[in-house]
């Protein structure tokens, strides 16, 4: 009974995924831009960032949310959007290895900031059931990404909304969903030209109607049963199975064995101990945990390590 009792039919949910520190601002601008535009249309709105994704580190997945409704929003005090109508990925690699489609409503739309085609991006997502459209927009060619802490932790954003890549991405969202009127969004963002480029130049791939897969949620009782005494846990000694970070990576280090002298400088500099020196005098990279910081590449004296976009690899 309770599932149907609390339905909010007029409510649309937008969930934005981005990479920590570098892209929070643009993620925030997308949700604030859309909600401010919707407010101009008399909608009830709420915008916020995922509380437990912060404080963030560079590249860690972080999320921002918008709720836009024809009626006063009843599900106000929650941590996440439980049923997104729109999912936005500010960085393309997030299609790989992250549960970005969990909980989507049937008919949801995915918008990805990428130079690649929707067809190519779709290959990484696995089960796309529930999606009605997949959109790519090359926002980085239309505007420059913005990095600032202004507006973090609930404080006022002193730099304005929508000057970075958020503008074209929000434009693409509007084109694919009509969630707000483009003119209202143009009046909110600082770079309306970039916004309109995103609107006009995004690529939309329509998908067949399917039902999204059901997500099983862990219950509080299950958490209680799994809880060790006083919450004390063994400290990781080799690697931390509880925090496998390969999905933070946007680019992958590739070794040119011809150039590698086995000097071990990359092994020294890797902040995450992801370089192993091998018996044949070379090195290998632990791709389970490598976050793609590229220190190995920049420190290599023989240019033996190149950073390659992660989505160039199917694995």
């Amino acid at each position: 009974m309770s599932e149907s009792l609390f339905i909010e039919p007029g409510l649309q949910q937008v969930t934005v995924w981005a990479r920590g520190v570098l892209m929070n601002k643009d993620a925030r601008d997308i949700v604030v831009g859309l909600t401010e535009a919707a407010a101009k249309e008399g909608k009830h709105v709420q915008a916020w960032e995922n509380y437990v994704d912060l404080p963030d580190r560079i590249y860690v997945p972080v999320r921002a949310y918008a709720k836009i409704s024809t009626d006063p929003i009843e599900s106000r005090y929650v941590y996440e959007n439980d049923a997104p109508d729109v999912v936005v990925l500010v960085e393309e690699t997030m299609v790989k290895g992250l549960a970005v489609l969990d909980g989507i409503k049937p008919g949801a739309v995915l918008v990805v900031n990428s130079r690649r085609s929707p067809e190519e991006v779709r290959g990484f997502l696995g089960d796309t059931s529930g999606l009605s459209a997949l959109v790519t927009v090359d926002a980085n060619s239309m505007s420059k990404a913005l990095m600032t802490l202004s507006g973090a932790e609930g404080a006022t954003d002193a730099t304005g909304i929508g000057a970075g890549i958020s503008a074209p991405i929000a434009g693409a969202v509007v084109k694919a969903t009509g969630i707000v009127k483009i003119d209202n969004l143009a009046n909110v963002v600082k770079n309306p030209d970039a916004m309109k480029r995103g609107y006009n130049e995004c690529k939309i791939m329509k998908l067949e109607k399917t039902q999204p897969k059901k997500i099983k949620k862990i219950t509080a009782q299950e958490r209680l049963e799994q809880l060790p005494f006083a919450g004390t846990v063994p400290s990781p000694q080799v690697d931390n199975r509880g925090m496998v970070t390969g999905s933070w990576r946007t680019q992958r280090p590739i070794l040119d064995a011809e150039q590698c002298t086995g000097c071990g400088i990359c092994w020294i500099y890797c902040p995450d101990a992801c370089v192993t020196r091998t018996d044949d005098g070379l090195v290998t990279f632990n791709l389970e945990f490598c976050k793609g910081c590229a220190l190995c590449s920049s420190e290599c004296p023989t240019n033996a390590v190149t950073m390659v976009p992660e989505l160039d690899f199917k694995d």
Binding site: V32, Y51, S75, Y77, A152, G154, A155, T156
Partner: protein, 395 residues
């Protein structure tokens, strides 16, 4: 009139500080209240606020800074969350006893262990016996309004006491809500300048907080008790003036939502009661006679008001978003104090405690539904099997 903006509870608090033209602010970072201080720092840097911002070396120092500032005649402001609130514990009683009306924002947060940013009322409720004014705002608008009202009441010469302006961490501090930001002129009309009875001044030296013998104890404490007794009449007057000047009317003690003919109400404070209202509205649509009573004043606890207005219900569910381990009744402080307030009506009103939302976990619509259902069972059977339920393990 005002300016309508979508801002977080942190920014709403900072706006109130700006409007109140606070003189001295002491800052130390801890989530989730920290946004207030970064916003105030930005306001000062941008020339929107003229104030002294002191970066203290810890929360105990924070409170000591505003202690000195207020004693020297400055309107002072500080804030904290979680274990920061408890770290400063030593300073709260002196601030109250020496009648220094500083305002402390508490963006509430679960106490360690382990580290958890999520909201709980426990941290601020630990301070409930310190002799301060205290209450929870449940919306971003209310954060701004209560901050102004608290300075007005706290600095009133009949009161002259410090205030904890509490808001739910994350839910209110971080989520954006619609706020009507008043004009400076309106605030000037509402809030007179701070003028204490005693002010540290080299020209007129005084001893504040002198050493005493036990014989002075009872008079000192009773003098403070009389000041506490003055809070409620001044609170009523201040809210009345506030309503006239700003156009927003608040009941100083209890916000009643759909209670006119209600048999059953949920009672609690802070953000989760907004969720309770949404559930009550849905149940009303199904014909159930339910409502919500949201407590707006935690200290002084309005026990006389509660006895007068809440004795009519058949059952009251008390939401405690806190962990007061070992307390009488086994739930939290709101259950214990509500039951004391309703002592004279005894078994006529069934009361049950629900401890929920611990660690900052969401109190869901479904959980409120189960609470209302439990209260309905109690009204039907006339029996209270358990006086408290820790949600979601026991309900």
């Amino acid at each position: 009139m005002g300016k309508i903006k979508r801002i977080s509870g942190c920014v709403a608090a900072a706006q109130a500080v700006r409007l109140a033209d606070v003189d001295v602010i002491s800052s130390y970072p801890i989530r989730p209240y920290t946004g207030i201080m970064s916003e105030l720092a930005r306001m000062i840097a941008d020339g929107e606020l003229d104030a002294e911002l002191v970066y203290a070396e810890g929360e105990h120092a924070q409170l000591s800074v505003v202690y000195g500032a207020s004693a020297a005649g400055a309107r002072a402001y500080t804030g904290s969350s979680g274990v920061g609130v408890t770290y400063a514990m030593e300073v709260y009683s002196p601030l109250s006893g020496e009648r220094l009306p500083v305002q402390m924002a508490i963006g509430d947060r679960t106490l360690d262990p382990p580290g958890d940013f999520g909201s709980e009322h426990t941290d601020a409720e630990c301070c409930r016996d310190q002799g301060w004014i205290q209450g929870w705002a449940s919306t971003q608008q209310e954060v701004l309004d209560m901050a102004l009202i608290y300075y007005r009441v706290g600095e009133d010469p009949r009161v002259m006491l410090p205030q904890y302006a509490c808001q739910d961490g994350y839910y209110v501090t971080h989520i954006l809500g619609t706020v009507d930001i008043p004009d400076e002129a309106q605030v000037k009309e509402f809030l007179p300048p701070y003028k204490n009875h005693h002010v540290l001044d080299p020209k007129h030296p005084q001893i504040i907080g002198a050493q005493i013998e036990p014989e002075q104890g009872p008079p000192m404490q009773y003098q403070r008790r009389m000041a506490i007794d003055n809070i409620n009449p001044v609170l009523i007057q201040a809210y009345d003036e506030f309503g006239k000047i700003f156009g927003r009317k608040y009941d100083p003690f209890l916000e009643e939502y759909m209670t006119e003919d209600a048999d059953i109400v949920m009672f609690g404070q802070g953000a989760h009661m907004e969720t309770a209202k949404a559930v009550a509205k849905r149940l009303r649509n199904l014909g159930e006679k339910v409502g919500v009573v949201r407590l707006r004043a935690f200290r002084p606890f309005p026990y006389e008001e509660i006895a007068k207005r809440m004795s009519k219900y058949k059952a009251i569910g008390v939401l405690d978003n806190s962990a007061q381990f070992g307390i009488s009744g086994g739930a939290g402080v709101l259950l214990t104090e509500l039951r004391t307030a309703l002592y004279d009506v005894g078994d006529k009103v069934k009361t049950v405690g629900f401890v929920a939302g611990l660690g900052g976990e969401v109190v869901t619509h479904e959980e409120f539904l189960r609470m209302y259902k439990k209260l309905e069972d109690i009204v039907k059977t006339g029996k209270v099997e358990k006086t408290r339920y820790w949600v979601p393990f026991e309900l």
